[in-house]
Amino acid sequence: MEAIFLDATESRHINLSPKTFEKMPNLRLLAFRDHKGIKSVSLPSGLDSLPKNLRYFLWDGYPWKSLPPTFCSEMLVEVSLRDSHVEKLWNVELVCTVHVFIITIFFLF
């Protein structure tokens, strides 16, 4: 699996497991688009990891305050976390790479 695009406005509600992306090491592009704030994608127990090959990462309304601590951002080019609760993108021990050229975060609070 290399790319997943979900328009949340067209989807049933889904609870994702913390290990959802562990079986998708080749995932390059991930987008959970939710312009209407329907929040049909939930992460009740948090998220353990994101694929290390991710280049594009969009998650409208990402529900947690930070991204997985093990997330390696070396390949990442674009992150968009509109209407999310994210307060910090990476823990201090992780290096934010120069590839990331766009970060769109609109805080709800």
Binding site: M1, A3, F5, R12, S17, E78
Partner: protein, 246 residues
């Protein structure tokens, strides 16, 4: 001597250079050469200076072309007006699709029209799909990946942003996107965003669909909300019972 030459569906610029010597001055004054191609680069490197890109047909011409093929006259037969509008809406001004669909639906019953048009919402017409793939099949692997990413994921994204992401994926996107533009598989709109005709996008999605007809999780790209739901949900179910023997 004054000549009028038409070359249809030319694939290489060599043919232009050798066959007619465009620009070499041996055609008589006032000669006209018309070349059609699916790759703009063939014309540019073949020395042809006046390039006309065929636009989508407007609704009036679409109705006429479709009706000529479906009813052998310029307007639909009574009782088939609404059905014709649905078929034309599917073709989105593409002359090839209008012609193929018109011929296909010709002499068929109202029930068959309804059924065929409903089917088009799920799978593309085989003949249109086959022709649409000619240009796709000429792409190399990197270009195919760019094309499929646009069809399934990026359609509508700003060109520079898309280029950076696809470069990072290792697809050599600057030259790849240029080639897709030359082959008219994509276009750039007035906001500098990459767009793709609905029928071409459908062909791209069909290519990915055929990677695994029955198992969405084995395909390279997922975009259908129901399939994304199923794949992510099943993933969750498997993970909830880690001790269950597989």
């Amino acid at each position: 001597m004054k000549s009028f030459i038409v070359l249809d569906d030319v694939h290489t610029s060599e043919l232009l250079q050798n066959l007619i010597g465009v620009g070499n001055g041996w055609l008589g004054a006032g000669s006209i050469v018309i070349v059609t191609t699916r790759d703009k680069h063939v014309l540019v490197s073949g020395g042809i200076d006046k390039i006309h890109q065929v636009k989508e047909m407007n609704s009036r011409n679409s109705l006429q072309l479709f009706s000529l093929n479906a009813f052998d006259k310029v307007l639909p037969t009574e009782g088939y007006v609404e059905l014709s509008k649905r078929a034309i809406d599917y073709a989105k001004g593409n002359p090839l699709a209008l012609k193929v669909l018109g011929s296909f639906l010709c002499c068929k019953s109202e029930i068959e029209w309804n059924c065929a048009l409903a089917k088009l919402k799920e799978i593309p017409n085989a003949e249109i799909d086959r022709i649409m793939r000619w240009s796709y099949n000429e792409l190399d692997d990197k270009e195919k990946n760019i094309f499929l990413d646009i069809a399934c994921f990026f359609k509508g994204l700003e060109r520079d942003r898309m280029t950076k992401i696809l470069n990072q994926c290792g697809f050599f996107a600057d030259i790849g996107i240029r080639n897709l533009l030359d082959k008219a598989l994509i276009r750039v709109d007035f906001k500098n965003c990459i767009q793709m005709h609905d029928l071409i996008q459908e062909m791209g999605k069909q290519v990915v669909h055929e990677e695994s007809l029955k198992n969405p999780e084995q395909r390279s790209r997922l975009w259908d909300p129901k399939e994304v739901y199923d794949v992510l949900k099943n993933n969750r179910v498997r993970k909830r019972y880690p001790d269950f023997p597989s």
